[in-house]
């Protein structure tokens, strides 16, 4: 069951699977527990949390809801550069007073927890403590998906992009949500367009195509990936490289398939 130890899970108060064992010391545990106990801050959907170039007041972990980093061009074109999910970290960049490299905003109602407490350990030690390793792993994973995003936008067709994104979301959500093949996908087609660099109209047509071909099932906000294998090979989706070479396999057959394909 334990794949690795992404912070996404460790810190997320909503994490189902309380990571058992390995690198997490007692001290680490208590730090995490203290975080869990903290009360979250709530923001409605479409709230601008930080604009480009502005400092991020304090680092935080997303407890619930979806958000994004985006940049907007003069004529209104918007590109979402990354989607933020529960468990994602914000404000843990290389710099101390973290500067936002793009506009940060909520896509759905969102709650987050101040993670300032993690900062000292993170800044000081890097690899020594379990939490630091977890943070590193999480940030590395973020970077991996950012790179994938570039490939999606640069060289993949609408269908491939969409498939790839859905698989990425499923993968990332599997840490915190159910391992089910269905999940809540609260993005409007408009937003999907801004993520994938497509027009709403074409997003719509691509979705219809995917439904017609029995690749996915999507009603309102519930997305079920029907044919994981087809989508995976179609989109050439590869999960991020695991930090520890000795990463344990997963419980879900689909994911382990994907893992195998990686090597």
């Amino acid at each position: 069951m334990p794949r690795e130890f992404p912070l996404h899970v460790a810190v997320s108060p909503l994490a189902r699977r309380a990571r058992n064992g390995s690198d997490i010391s007692e001290q680490d545990r208590s730090i995490l527990a203290r975080l869990d106990a903290k009360s979250a801050r709530y923001y409605p959907a479409d709230t601008k949390l930080a604009s480009e170039g502005a400092p991020i007041r304090y680092p935080f972990v997303i407890r619930s809801g979806w958000g994004c980093h985006s940049r907007i061009l003069g004529d209104g074109r918007r590109q979402i550069t990354s989607i933020l999910l529960p468990g994602n970290l914000v404000g843990f960049g290389y710099r101390s007073p973290s500067v936002s490299l793009s506009t940060l905003c909520s896509l759905t109602p969102m709650s987050m927890i101040d993670a300032t407490d993690l900062l000292p350990a993170w800044r000081a030690q890097r690899d020594s403590c379990g939490i630091c390793k977890a943070i590193s792993a999480a940030l590395t994973e973020d970077e991996y998906f950012l790179t994938s995003h570039v490939v999606r936008l640069g060289r993949q067709t609408a269908l491939e992009r969409m498939a790839h994104l859905f698989l990425e979301l499923q993968y990332r959500l599997s840490w915190t949500g159910s391992m089910d093949d269905a999940f809540v996908m609260p993005l409007t087609q408009d937003i999907l367009g801004d993520v994938l660099g497509l027009s709403v109209v074409h997003v719509n047509r691509t979705l219809q195509y995917m439904r017609r071909e029995q690749l996915i099932e999507l009603s309102r906000t519930r997305l079920r990936v029907i044919d994981v294998d087809a989508l995976t090979s179609l989109a050439e989706f590869k999960p991020p490289p695991s930090s520890s070479a000795l990463a344990v396999g997963t419980s879900g057959g689909d994911t382990s398939d994907a893992q195998r394909r990686m090597n």
Copy 2:
């Protein structure tokens, strides 16, 4: 003259402007000097230095030549996710045994210097020493341009992408090369296509258009940006946010213009 203190310059043995003063201590200086003294490793063009998911043997700084990170799809489509220029760091990711998130290769003959010596300080201290701050600033800048790359590919037209890329290159090269408005741009149209997510043919046509409109001058490998202002507003290019709020202005009028536009 000193804008800030990007490691790109500090460490680069070829750096013209030996940074005078500020955060760099004597100890830092000697570390850098030792790096400069090191002999570089040379690689011919089109050499694969690390493949996706493979560990990066040792961290290094590029001394000369251009390289890139890229990912290749099953049918041969290639997307370059970032271009590496002299002064760029590789292998300074969040993880200790740095894992390459994409294929790393040289685009021109390249030489680089083992930067293992910087690692201990970097891992341990983060913000305490001048070199660490410089490394942080450099990596933050890399991340900024990666984000910009996403926007380029997702929401900009061929012309805008090309203009934006040229301005980025000019900006990044200004640290190590001449502050001239012309510079050596050794990328073939083929490669440009793989960077910008365009076909060679269209790259060619876009270049011709830019020449016809007196926006640039490009012969073989020499690129001169004629109308910086036009390109800047056309592409909505913005230089990366400066790390210190108290960043000093630059010597070049163009850049300070751009800086102003940022805020």
